[in-house]
Symmetry: C2
Subunit: 469 residues, 2 copies
């Protein structure tokens, strides 16, 4: 049996046992079994609890040994003292993978360290792979499958093309918890990483056709050489982004007590990432921005950026970031300039960045026509590799009858016709409006919180592999 | 008449004339007169339009000369060719200030440059001060007064203590537009800055008791010495933050065509800001983060930060940022540790950063009690100068009956009892939830998009005056 086949069992199991399935259900029950049953996951899931005959109306089994089918994946969530014996039973039943949710192992006291060592021995002797301990486990959005003790909430994202292409390997449950805020296609929390670690899942995601971009959250790695080898193999086919924390002394100490990780010196990681072409990121919101950007935007050829805005100040700032991230402002073709300028007041000269506000206010024709023409011409201009767009979010002007209401449909319809990345910043969008959600359903465009991240994403898309602070 | 008295007329006029008041009303009318009338501004506003007898049921005047009272402030929004004559009329009537909304001056062609020079001559000769041209004018939230051609929308912020303490002087309408996303107490768009510039309003905000923090958006300054002198006088009493754009060659060129600004070399600005103790910021969302943080958080004494989180990974990242921004992790008192540890599982050792999740999940007592105790003890611990709090946003656990629902009221009630800054990061809060809005009504706490900005804000609050990239 190959290594990735067992790893596959974690994300695409044919049969799952929940060992320590709780009888307490409902909100606040943190009931993994209930969460899976109610999540829409279609395979049979077997609750194991020696003290219960049935849970949520389904037969409960006293032990994994009593389940009448071969179990691919077991999820163990019990007091720590019984974990090792339960995992041994799983190994005896040839379970491919075991997720140990339980806390209190190497991240805690001496007893915990000993117990974790025993877990490792079980894995080594049996070939059964162990994820965790101290993990929320896995999540596979293709199957609505999550082992989190938080309920897997539905998200209304199916209309957002491509969002599932992003997978993550992390050392926290913040990405695999099942929260609807941001979801990855496939997500793994390696927890303490006693057996399975970043490298195992890198190997899996390398050959997984559904994974197009790989994100890593790293507190520590203890097999640097293997990591470097596999990452090097991947990075030209699938971009890798790494959020490495534990940079500070205090952060590293905390990482040690949180997941038992040795963080190592930050400069070493920096060097490795740079050498491998891994994009380093520093914050969770940044991680989400890149994940969304890369899952939404098409490939980019060239480094010439067109900027379209209704606010001159945003044009100035866009130009700053474009230069800072090594991109260039595109020189618009004569035809593009003529077409955009045609309804403009006489005194106005169009150049990139294009501030169309004076034309919208003072020019000939309707506001949305001015916008439509400018966007269409810039998307069609071969001298432009990608577009940055600063667009107003304020609702009064976008609702039916408002002067900008037709701009939104222009935007969505035009971006679907040109295979060019469009990075949008919605100004005055403090509430992360419905407009943002609506735009994210469009093709070839992504919405950012600021112009810096819009430009950064384009720079990385263009192939720049710098570390980003 | 003193200089600041005339400047005061822009933000607190006793009487306002709108010259070029449009007869076109309703959505998309961009009608400044209508916006003011409907905004809740209580003083009388006089529409001037030689082609209209009345506008919105009120008498319209053919000229400023026909208005029966002394006008403090005139707002001119007409085609550019008639602007100079209209401003001359205002000067003849001893109007204190004129806002020229009209575009097409020094930011455009040669004719525009000549017209702007003529405006400057009117100001110099008459003493009437001119704001603009090419501006959205001013906004004073205390009076619901805005000269924007975008409607001034109501915001439900009155319950958010102190938000009005932040004033801004900018070169864009993005902050004075009247949009409800983010509002400053007092906001000015100097536009092309032909007469009035950053320095004039710095002098005004210096002595304005309602202004506690000053933000600047700068594309260019052409009176550096005066700026430095006045800023130096202010910065120890009222912190100054500057978003300086036009850093790149292209950005500077764009700034020249946008507001006619000469941006100058970026290093020079960096040096000046550093010397003066002005905090430099680089993005609009960052500007809003600091504005909100500073208007909400109390003074901070000491640099020792306590971190409370339900996610170990967030603790690690907090520790990283605390070190990066020159702060230190507080060493908790023995009593604090004992009280937090008391319901914890035996194997768990509490230290700062405090990850209370294992106690919430496995400890004695209810989740919200664990949270309440930890927060109370840390806020009361004298070794802690300020708190960073990573708190879950996911709704299922906060709604009535959910295990975290009582945590929110604990948070709001406890932070109001301790005069200590609490910088909150809500994880899994992609939608900028109702929770965020609710927490922002609390005392001594502010919500941030990430841990970096939470730590940054505390560092600046503590008195660090570094440039932040």
């Amino acid at each position: 049996m190959e290594s990735t086949e067992k790893i596959e069992a974690f994300l695409e199991p044919e049969s799952v046992a929940i060992i320590g399935a709780s009888r307490e259900t409902g909100e606040g029950g943190f009931n993994i079994y209930q969460n899976i049953v109610e999540s829409g996951y279609e395979k049979t899931v077997y609750p194991v609890n020696p003290k219960a005959n049935e849970i949520l109306g389904e037969k409960a089994y006293p032990s994994i040994k009593d389940i009448p089918v071969d179990v691919d994946l077991a999820v163990v969530s019990t007091p720590r003292e019984v974990v090792v014996d339960l995992v041994k039973e799983c190994a005896e039943e040839n379970v491919k993978g075991v997720i140990v949710i339980t806390q209190g192992f190497s991240e805690s006291d001496e007893r915990g360290k000993i117990l974790e060592k025993e877990l490792v021995e079980v894995a080594e002797k049996s070939g059964t792979r162990i994820l965790g301990p101290n993990t929320l486990g896995v999540q596979n959005s293709y199957l609505s499958f999550s082992t989190s003790f938080f309920p897997y909430e539905d998200v209304d994202w199916d209309s957002i093309e491509g969002w599932r292409s992003v997978s993550i390997i992390s050392q926290t449950g913040l990405f695999t918890g099942g929260f609807p805020d941001f979801r990855f296609g496939k997500a793994v929390d390696i927890g303490n990483g006693c057996d399975i670690n970043h490298v195992d899942f890198l190997e899996y995601f390398k050959q997984d056709p559904e994974t197009k971009q790989i994100f890593l959250h790293i507190e520590g790695l203890d097999n640097g050489k293997k990591f470097m080898k596999i990452a090097k193999d991947i990075v030209d086919k699938k971009p890798i982004f790494a959020l490495k924390s534990g940079r500070s002394k205090a952060g590293a100490d905390m990482a040690a007590s949180h997941t038992g990780s040795m963080s190592g010196q930050d400069q070493i990681y920096n060097g490795i990432f740079k050498q491998l072409g891994i994009v380093r990121i520093y914050e969770i919101d940044e991680l989400k921005i890149f994940a969304r950007g890369f899952s939404k935007l098409p490939n980019m050829t060239g480094n010439k950026i067109g900027v379209l805005t209704d606010a001159g100040a945003a044009g100035v700032m866009s130009a700053d970031w474009i230069e800072e991230f090594g991109l260039e402002l595109a020189e618009l073709s004569k035809e593009t300039i003529e077409k955009i300028e045609s309804p403009a007041p006489d005194w106005m000269k169009v150049e990139n960045p294009v501030d169309i506000w004076p034309i919208m206010m003072l020019g000939k024709g309707e506001m949305h026509e001015v916008f439509h023409t400018a966007l269409r011409e810039m998307l069609g201009d071969d001298s432009i590799s990608a577009l940055m767009l600063a667009f107003p979010s304020y609702e009064k002007f976008r609702v039916s009858g408002g002067p900008l209401c037709k701009c939104v449909s222009s935007l969505k319809s035009l971006t679907s016709k040109f295979e060019k990345p469009v990075a949008v910043w919605l100004h005055n969008d403090g509430e992360k409006s419905k407009l943002r959600r609506e735009l994210m359903t469009g093709k070839n465009l992504a919405v950012f919180d600021n112009l810096r991240n819009a430009a950064k994403t384009l720079a990385v898309l263009e192939g720049r592999k710098f570390n980003i602070g």
